[in-house]
Amino acid sequence: MDKPTTLTKEATAELRHYYYQMLLMRRFEERTHEMYVKAKIGGYCHLNLGEEATIVGLMAALKPEDYIFTNYREHGYILARGVAPGPLMAELFGRETGVSGGRGGSMHLFDVAKGFMGGYAIVGGQIPLAVGAAYALRYQGKPGVVVAQMGDASTNIGAFYESLNLAKLWRCPVIFFIANNGYGMGSTIEDSSSEPDLWKKGASFRVHGEQVDGTDVLAVRDAVRRLRERAETEGEPVILDVVSFRFRGHSVIDADRYRDADEVRKGRETQDPLRHYSAWLQAHELADEAWLKAMVEQVEQEMQAAVDFANAGPHPKIEDIYTYMYASPVPNIPAPETARRLLD
C-alpha cells in the first residue's frame, strides 16, 4: 500500500469507511457464529472471516449500476454492498423481515434494489447466471458490469469454463472474481487443480487474468477499478484471483481438524486484513487509537441492534407457504393433497 499524498476530507472519510465496513463484517460474522451456537441459526453457514479486505475492496470499486452474483459464502458481500445488518441477520434467523423473506437462509441472500442477485449454493451455478446478466446489460444498452464471484475450488467445475467461453464470445462485461482462501472444504488448491495459478485459467479462452493480495483492501479496490473499466468499455471479461487466508473451518460446523493449528494461528496473525489496515491508517495518520476504539463501540451497538431486529422479526406464516411460488398465477396449483394438509 502506497503512502497517500495530500488527501481531501472525502478521500480520508472513504479510507476510514473501508475500515468501518471491514470491522462491521468481522463482527457480523463473529456474532453470526455466536447465534449459530445458540441455535438461532440453522443449516449450513459459511463465514467471510479473513476475507474482509477482499470484499470491501471489491465493493469500493463497483458502481450502483453493477450486479453481483456470489456463492453461498456471501454475508460480507451483501453487507458491504450496503444492505443493513438487521435484515441480513433476520434472514439467518428465518424471519419474514429477512432479505429473502426467510425463504433463503444464509446461503441465499438477495437484494434486487442493490443489484445483489443472490447467493447460490450449488458450486459454480452462479457463474453462467452472471454471464447472462451481463448479456442482458449489453442487450439493453445499459452501463455496468457483472461480478461472478466464486471460491478457488469452484474453478474446477465445468460451468466456469463454459462461462468463460460464452463471456468472451459474446463480449460480456463479467469480472470472474475468485475469492481464493486457499481451500475447498478441506482440500488445498494443489489437491484439486492441475493449474494452481488460478488467474491463468482463462488462457484457452483468451480471457485475461490477474492475481491480487486479498488482504490488502486498497490493492483489491484498485485492481477491480481498472479491470471494471475495461470490462465495461471494451466488453472484456476478466479473471481476478484474490488471495486471502481462511480464518476458520469451511463452515461454522467444521472443526478444521485437517489444518495444522500452528499454521492457522500464524495465518490469522500475519494475514489479518483488519490488523494490516488499522496499522496502515495509523501509520499515515488517518486514524488514531481513539478513533479505532470509537469504531469498535459503534459497530458493537449496530450489531446488537441487528440481533435485536432479527429477534423481533415475525416468523413467516404457515398459510403463506405458497406465496412466491409462481409469479404468474395459474389454475390447479397447489395440488389437492398438499392444499388439504394446510387445513389439517
Partner: protein
C-alpha cells in the same frame, strides 16, 4: 383459416412474439445460420438478426444458465434444446436455479424463460436419443411444463409460455412437427394448467398428452366403429396438472386408461393413476390401466423399438382389458 403444420405454428409464433416484444430473444444451438435442427426457427435470423436469434456453442449448462441470468434482468429468452436428451447437462441450472429463484429469494425477481425441446422416440434414434424426461421437470415445483398435441395448442401454449413470468418447459415431439390442424389468425392463448376433452365419449376415459393424444384420438375413432365410445382427455399441461378435468371425465365414464411414452415405474402414468384412485375411487368400475414405455434403453432394431414404446395397439389392448 387454413390448416398449418405444428412446425409452422411454432415458427410463426416465435416470429410474432419476437416482433411484439423487444425483450424476447431466441437462444440455442444451430438455430440461426443452420435454421434449427428441425427448422422451427427457419427464417428468423434473417428477420431479427444475431442479437435476437443467438447461435450458442454446445454448452447447454452454460447457455441455459445465461438465459436464466438474462431473464432475471428482464429479458424473455426462448431457449431451444435440440432434443430433450441433451437437457440433462443443463438440469442443474433448471432445477436448482430457474425453478427456485422467485421463491427462494422472496419474490424479488422473476424468471420469464421458455425452454422448448422435442421429447420422445421415433425413427430408430436408439437409446440416447429417444427418451422422455418431461416427468423430471413436471416433478419440480417452480417450473411449469406444457406439452401440446395439435398446431392450435402449440401456438396458443407457446404464446402463453412466452408471456408468462415463470420458467416454462415446452415439450414438443418430432412425430408431431408435420401434423396439420386449423389455427385461427387472431391472437389467442391456451391457458397453462388447463386440460381439454379432445373427444367426448361414455365408455372409457383415455388420459394422454403430446404424441399420445394424437394416437388416442386415432384409437377412439377406430373403436367407435365397433361401438366403443372413448373419451380423450388431452392434458396439455403436466405442471400444473388439471386434476379436476381428469376426475370429471372418469366420474362420467367410470373407466380410465392412462398413457405416456416415458418408462413405466415412477413415470407420468403413475401420477395419473394415483390421482384417479385418490379422487374417483368410488366411481371406478375397473382398475386404472397404465400404458407406458418398457423399461429398457430403447433398442435400435425396428422390431424391438416398436414394442418398447406405447402404440395404438397397446392402447387398444388396455381399453379392451377393462371393457
Amino acid at each position: 383459416m387454413k390448416p398449418i403444420t405444428y412446425r409452422q405454428a411454432l415458427n410463426s409464433t416465435l416470429g410474432e412474439e419476437l416482433a411484439r416484444d423487444s425483450n424476447v430473444l431466441l437462444m440455442g444451438e444451430e438455430i440461426g445460420v443452420f435454421q434449427g435442427s428441425y427448422r422451427i426457427t427457419e427464417g428468423l435470423l434473417d428477420r431479427f438478426g444475431p442479437k435476437r436469434v443467438v447461435d450458442t456453442p454446445i454448452a447447454e449448462e452454460g447457455f441455459v444458465g445465461a438465459a436464466i441470468g438474462a431473464a432475471m434482468l428482464g429479458l424473455r429468452p426462448v431457449v431451444e434444446i435440440m432434443t430433450i436428451n441433451f437437457i440433462l447437462v443443463a438440469i442443474d441450472q433448471i432445477v436448482n436455479h430457474a425453478s427456485k429463484i422467485h421463491y427462494m429469494f422472496g419474490g424479488q425477481v422473476r424468471v420469464p424463460l421458455v425452454i422448448r425441446t422435442p421429447s420422445g422416440g421415433t425413427g430408430q434414434l436408439a437409446a440416447t436419443h429417444s427418451q422422455s424426461f418431461e416427468n423430471w421437470f413436471a416433478y419440480c415445483p417452480g417450473l411449469k411444463v406444457v406439452a401440446p398435441a395439435t398446431p392450435y395448442d402449440a401456438k396458443g401454449l407457446l404464446r402463453a409460455a412466452i408471456r408468462d413470468d415463470d420458467p416454462v418447459i415446452f415439450i414438443e415431439s418430432l412425430a408431431l412437427y408435420d401434423t396439420k390442424g386449423e389455427v385461427p389468425d387472431e391472437d389467442y392463448v391456451v391457458p397453462i394448467g388447463v386440460a381439454e376433452v379432445k373427444r367426448e365419449g361414455s365408455d372409457v376415459t383415455v388420459v394422454a398428452y403430446s404424441r399420445m393424444t394424437a394416437i388416442a384420438l386415432q384409437v377412439a375413432q377406430q373403436l367407435a366403429q365397433e361401438g366403443i365410445s372413448v373419451e380423450v382427455v388431452d392434458l396439455r399441461s403436466l405442471r400444473p396438472l388439471d386434476r379436476p378435468t381428469i376426475i370429471a371425465s372418469v366420474k362420467k365414464t367410470n373407466r380410465a386408461v392412462v398413457v405416456a411414452e416415458d418408462w413405466y415405474s415412477y413415470g407420468i402414468t403413475a401420477e395419473l393413476a394415483a390421482t384417479i384412485q385418490e379422487e374417483a375411487f368410488d366411481y371406478l368400475d375397473a382398475p386404472v390401466q397404465r400404458v407406458a414405455g418398457l423399461e429398457v434403453p430403447l433398442p435400435y432394431a425396428k422390431d424391438l423399438a416398436a414394442v418398447a414404446k406405447p402404440s395404438a395397439q397397446s392402447l387398444i389392448n388396455a381399453i379392451r382389458r377393462i371393457l
